[in-house]
Amino acid sequence: MLKIKNLHARIEDKEILKGINLEVKPGEVHAIMGPNGSGKSTLASVLAGREDYEVTEGSVEYLGEDLLEKAPEDRARSGVFLAFQYPVEIPGVSSTNFLKTAVNQVREFRGEKPLDAVGFLQMIKEKMKLVDMDQSLLGRSLNEGFSGGEKKRNEIFQMAVLDPKLAILDETDSGLDIDALKIVADGVNKLKSPDKATIVVTHYQRLLDYIVPDFVHVLYQGKIVKSGDKNLALQLEEKGYDWIKEELKATV
């Protein structure tokens, strides 16, 4: 589904990704962990098409196509979804209108008819249950005045509505209490299917108790320095990242 080869990216003059290699197949859950500043969020942003970053080397193939060629909206339409670490508050834009516009632009791209008001509301109500979201939030401006938990829930709700093939969760667990975390993880789990894949970017192992990964990768200084199964995450939780840094020094 996703093949990242030797990906280098920088922001302004600072090189952040220094040769990432990663392959994600349908049905898999990959966790990307690493200390702060290792490049985790950059990787998520580059995949979603944030224009602040410049890709200097390497390639990303998604469903057989060059992902980096595509505009952010075209990536979204072809099934890539980024759940933001810090969802943006947009005053004056109603949550409902925003969602309806997004859904219908995606449907149009897929050659489907736009949903009418009734069909849209029906679908929305169903998806809201997945993340136990309060309907009153839909009447408000997009993310405006939402609590941290509400914002993250709203991200997963949008993911449910847009039904992506590849979901990238960027530190979705940060700032969540355990109840909110369970709800968010539960939502993600319900959306899993054999033809979809998930990349979970996180600093902490906690989320991975609820979204169980098939693979865990450690990103450090812009490279994946270690990969393993879910036990690697447990090891990191227990011992921190220093032992990996030590290991790396030893090999150098």
């Binding site: 979603a48 952010p72 979204a76 947009i90 834009v93 925003f98 516009t101 997004a102 791209f109 847009l162």
Partner: protein, 440 residues
């Protein structure tokens, strides 16, 4: 020709026009009214038209534009406007008191003013003839002709426009709509003048809308005096969507008395050059004034909003939000003055001006100006000029929304807080339509 002598020439032209104007009045005008006109002409001759370096006009070279584009050879004429011309004019068919002004002159046949208890609407000319107490007490008493050359010019030629009087305790149910329609071919000039007196405890909505059906350059030099008496509630809307060869200057002086509420909305779209001077004097305690402005400009349109709110007594509140979306080679100017006089303790006064530039060639000059002599006040001001927020754009796009649509959504959101308080649905819908047209 040097600017100075050109300026003087412009003054000469209007002095000659004034002589013709006096003759046309044929001695019929009330003496006291005419004294006000003559003294305004003296003021104009004394202060002169603003030169290029004039502090209040330095970003808006109105005098130069008038010299360049007008010859001022004749007065605007009327009589061209027909009923069928009005079918596409916004609001003409709305459920409202409609006053049609052709080149500044009230056309009573095409107007549709339904009798309403406590509401008096008539051509200013007619009111001059009657010279009732409210007119005599207010005409020319509030607008400071000695400070602004264009206000002086308007006062000197004051004859046509609307006189509106709302008696105490009257709630005027339907909005009053003044439809200004410019007709004719070739260049023309007119000086519409309004006086609106809203007595104690009354409630009224007044809309002014400007439409061009003419060909050629038009100079509209408009002034209004609005008196808002005790505990009156007044909503005042101005919609300027004119031809690309219309030069429009508006001086509106509002005077508020105790416990009154005044909301001003100024929506500006097309025109060659538009300058609005909106001055609100809070004469007594516990007044509340809101000024909302929205300008969406493209081409070479130049829009300048100068506002003054003058807190003279304690415990009043004023709030101002002006927003601009400026495209192509167009230009936005904002100057907002807040005065808080020494007695005006416990004043709350807020102001903000935000602009989005959509093109590298668009410009905005914005200047807040606070002058505060009282010490126990809350005042704030802020202005921003920039592009659309990149992070918000990316967020929308990352959900599958096209770049163009995403920009559109954000621009509408930017404009929305100016529009959301508009309670008259036909006006709100029309402004929304104009915003769509401008942005799509």
């Amino acid at each position: 020709m040097s600017t100075k002598s050109a300026k003087a020439e412009l003054e000469n032209i209007f002095n000659t026009h004034f002589e013709d104007f006096e003759k046309s009045l044929n001695g019929l005008s009330e003496k006291s009214t005419h004294e006000i006109r003559k003294s305004a002409l003296d003021s104009l001759n004394h202060i002169g038209f603003p030169g290029n370096k004039h502090e209040e006009y330095k970003y808006t070279p109105l005098t130069r534009q008038l010299q360049k584009n007008f010859r001022f050879e004749r007065f605007a004429s009327t009589g061209k406007l027909k009923l069928e011309d009005l079918k596409d004019v916004p609001f003409y068919n709305e459920n409202a008191h409609i006053v049609v002004l052709e080149n500044g002159v009230v056309n009573t046949e095409l107007s549709k003013v339904n009798g309403a208890q406590g509401l008096g609407i008539m051509p200013l000319k007619e009111a001059f003839k009657q010279n009732n107490e409210a007119l005599a007490n207010n005409f020319g008493r509030h607008l400071f002709a000695e400070k602004d050359a264009f206000a002086a010019l308007n006062t000197a030629f004051a004859e046509n426009g609307a006189y509106i009087h709302i008696e105490r305790n009257t709630s005027v149910e339907k909005p009053i709509v003044l439809l200004y329609i410019t007709t004719g071919s070739g260049e023309l000039t007119y000086h519409p003048r309004n006086l609106i007196v809203a007595e104690e405890n009354c409630e009224v909505n007044v809309i002014e809308s400007f439409t061009s059906l003419n060909k050629g350059n038009a100079f509209i030099n408009q002034s209004s005096e609005i008196v808002v008496e005790k505990n009156a509630r007044f909503n005042y809307f101005k919609l300027q969507n004119e031809s690309e060869s219309t030069y429009h200057i508006d001086n509106t002086q509002v005077v508020q008395h105790r416990d009154s509420l005044f909301n001003a909305y100024t929506f500006t779209f097309d025109g060659a050059l538009i300058r609005n001077n909106l001055n609100i004097a809070l004469e007594e305690e516990h007044c509340e004034a809101h000024m909302y402005g929205l300008y969406l400009t493209h081409g070479k349109t130049h829009v300048d909003n100068h506002t003054v709110v003058d807190h003279k007594e304690p415990n009043s509140f004023s709030n101002e939000i002006y927003k601009g979306i400026v495209n192509d080679h167009s230009k936005g100017v904002f100057n907002g003055k807040i005065f808080v006089r020494q007695p005006a303790q416990k004043t709350n006064a807020f102001q903000s001006n935000k602009n989005i530039l959509l093109s590298d060639n668009a410009t905005v000059n914005t200047k807040p100006q606070l002058e505060i002599w009282a010490d126990d006040v809350k005042c704030s001001h802020g202005c921003t000029t920039g592009q659309l927020d990149e992070e918000s754009l990316f967020y929308l796009r990352s959900r599958g929304i096209s770049l163009q649509k995403a920009r559109n959504i954000l621009l509408h959101a930017f404009a929305s807080d100016v529009l959301e308080h508009v309670s008259i649905s036909f006006l709100k819908e029309h402004v929304e339509y104009l915003i769509h047209k401008e942005l799509d």
